[in-house]
Amino acid sequence: MEKNIERIYIPMTETAFYILYSLQEPMHGYNIVQLVLKMTAGQIDIAPGTMYGTLSKMEKDGLIELVKKEDKRKIYKITDLGKKLLEIEIKRIERLYKNSRGEIYENY
């Protein structure tokens, strides 16, 4: 089961990565949009249709979970499975980064 989820999500889309990364702290969809805009100097602007679709899918697949509702906004946070996938993805990005600089990646 987890292996399948890994195949679906890794490598991650940029949208999925930033959403999962942001949800290490509990927040709702629009919080994520704002945080990602700030983190990326406005380069990544996640549109609401994309945000809604990704949040629903991630919740269904158990990567994130609902914490509570504030008015009509749902607050999500990452689950253990989500953390595991995020870690795998971060390692992958580190490898890409090292290789892009002409360095050999060593896996510890």
């Binding site: 889309t13 629009y30 249709g49 009509k72």
Partner: protein
């Protein structure tokens, strides 16, 4: 302000053309008021800078719909209405490029959802029609059965033509997404 009606038909895989139509009307100074089937009601306005977008939402539960609308509102999209499982939004923008989707995956995902939840509903009927025509083509059939067969065949032909029309538009949109045109 003056209101006008326009009559247009857009199938489930022509939402890009429907958006284009609404945007065109907006540029001419007409904002969307209401839609009922093929009748689009517009009102004259001075605001010509709206971008209209459609999202296929399927059957969202009431609380899901509330959350969904809130997220769009937070992002500056005004919810207008839902018709045949499509939600209509608009946003004031000087640039045409604003979108409710920001990556290719989610655009394809919407197209895929329409295919699964709407277009494939036609398949059982087409199979039934073919089955009846092939396997019951004998001299022993009653006149009652012949009448049913004739009815199903004629309705079925319309279905097949519709199906071809939908398939064409499905691939037209898919091609546009693949080429990065939308």
């Amino acid at each position: 302000m003056r209101t006008i009606n326009k009559y247009r038909f857009f199938s489930i895989f022509q939402y890009d053309q429907e958006e284009e139509f609404l945007n065109e009307m907006s540029r001419k100074g007409y904002e969307l008021v209401d839609i009922s089937f093929i009748k689009y009601k517009f009102k004259e306005t001075k605001d010509k800078d709206y971008v209209y977008k459609l999202d296929y939402i399927g059957n969202l539960k009431e609380d899901e719909l509330e959350e969904y609308k809130q997220l769009f509102a937070d992002n500056g999209w005004e919810y207008l209405l839902t018709l045949y499982e499509y939600a209509y939004f608009r946003k004031k923008s000087m640039v045409k490029e604003v979108d409710i989707f920001s990556d290719r995956e989610s655009k394809l995902n919407m197209l895929h959802n329409i295919l699964i939840k709407r277009a494939l509903l036609m398949i059982p009927f087409i199979v039934l029609m073919i089955y009846i025509n092939i396997f019951y083509d004998t001299e022993t059939s009653s006149s009652f059965f012949e009448a049913i067969k004739a009815f199903i065949t004629s309705v079925g032909s319309i279905y097949v033509l519709t199906f071809i029309f939908l398939a064409y538009n499905y691939f037209r949109i898919k091609n546009k997404i693949d080429k990065g045109l939308i």
